[in-house]
Symmetry: C2
Subunit: 132 residues, 2 copies
């Protein structure tokens, strides 16, 4: 009975742990999930601060989507829009310090992406090479 109770207690703790992990990952995905947000932040961290630069760097994004993603990123405190009222009017987006907190996530994702591409290549050449 004691052993059984211990087991149940451990199971419960284990599943509480799991719930916590799941909800924190889900929170993260809610804020930075989707196809474009991280990509835009990456491009901005590499010095692309203007609308057209971003559109050129982030391949496949349309003006409409870029515009709405920039708005969301601004609302969530990752970037600011700066309008220099001089002449000509220059509109720049700038990363706020908060976006630096994403470095670890971006690093992990890009390392995994590189290794995943390698794996896929290997899988394909293994399958694509018929035995002699």
């Amino acid at each position: 009975m004691v052993a059984q109770n211990e087991t149940e207690k451990n199971n419960k703790e284990f599943s509480d742990d799991c719930h916590k992990l799941l909800s924190s990952v889900s929170d993260a995905l809610y804020a930075i999930g989707g196809k474009w947000k991280l990509m835009i932040i990456i491009a901005m961290a590499r010095g692309n601060n203007r609308f057209t630069e971003l559109q050129r760097m982030v391949k496949g994004i349309s003006a409409r989507v870029l515009s709405s993603e920039l708005k969301e990123l601004e609302m969530n405190g990752f970037i600011v829009k700066k309008v220099s009222v001089g002449y000509p009017v220059i509109i720049e987006y700038q990363l706020l310090p908060y976006s630096e907190t994403l470095e670890e996530v971006v690093g992990a994702l890009s390392r995994w992406g590189v290794q995943h591409l390698e794996k896929i290549k290997n899988d394909m050449s293994a399958k694509g090479t018929p035995k002699p």
Copy 2:
């Protein structure tokens, strides 16, 4: 002129770098992006191996979506489906070693998720407290 060329060269290298980073992150998001894939892998890593267990643990997922995500995860080499033909028939999904390569990504995302929730709470209490 030399200085100008140097600058251009540096810019080009910088933007090549950026393209590499963007494409590796995009590869990663293609494989493990979306609302559910990481969540299912997390739940399985914590000992949830059966369909109904997963449905209970991963809150909000429907049977239809769970079923199709499991198929995709199997196709991409993250999990296997094991059918024990005995009695009663028990169907279990198991993580393959490849899914362990995601540990760093999951860790980074969950840490970021935790700190992001904290930040949102702080932001809200700062706004929600009118000055006396």
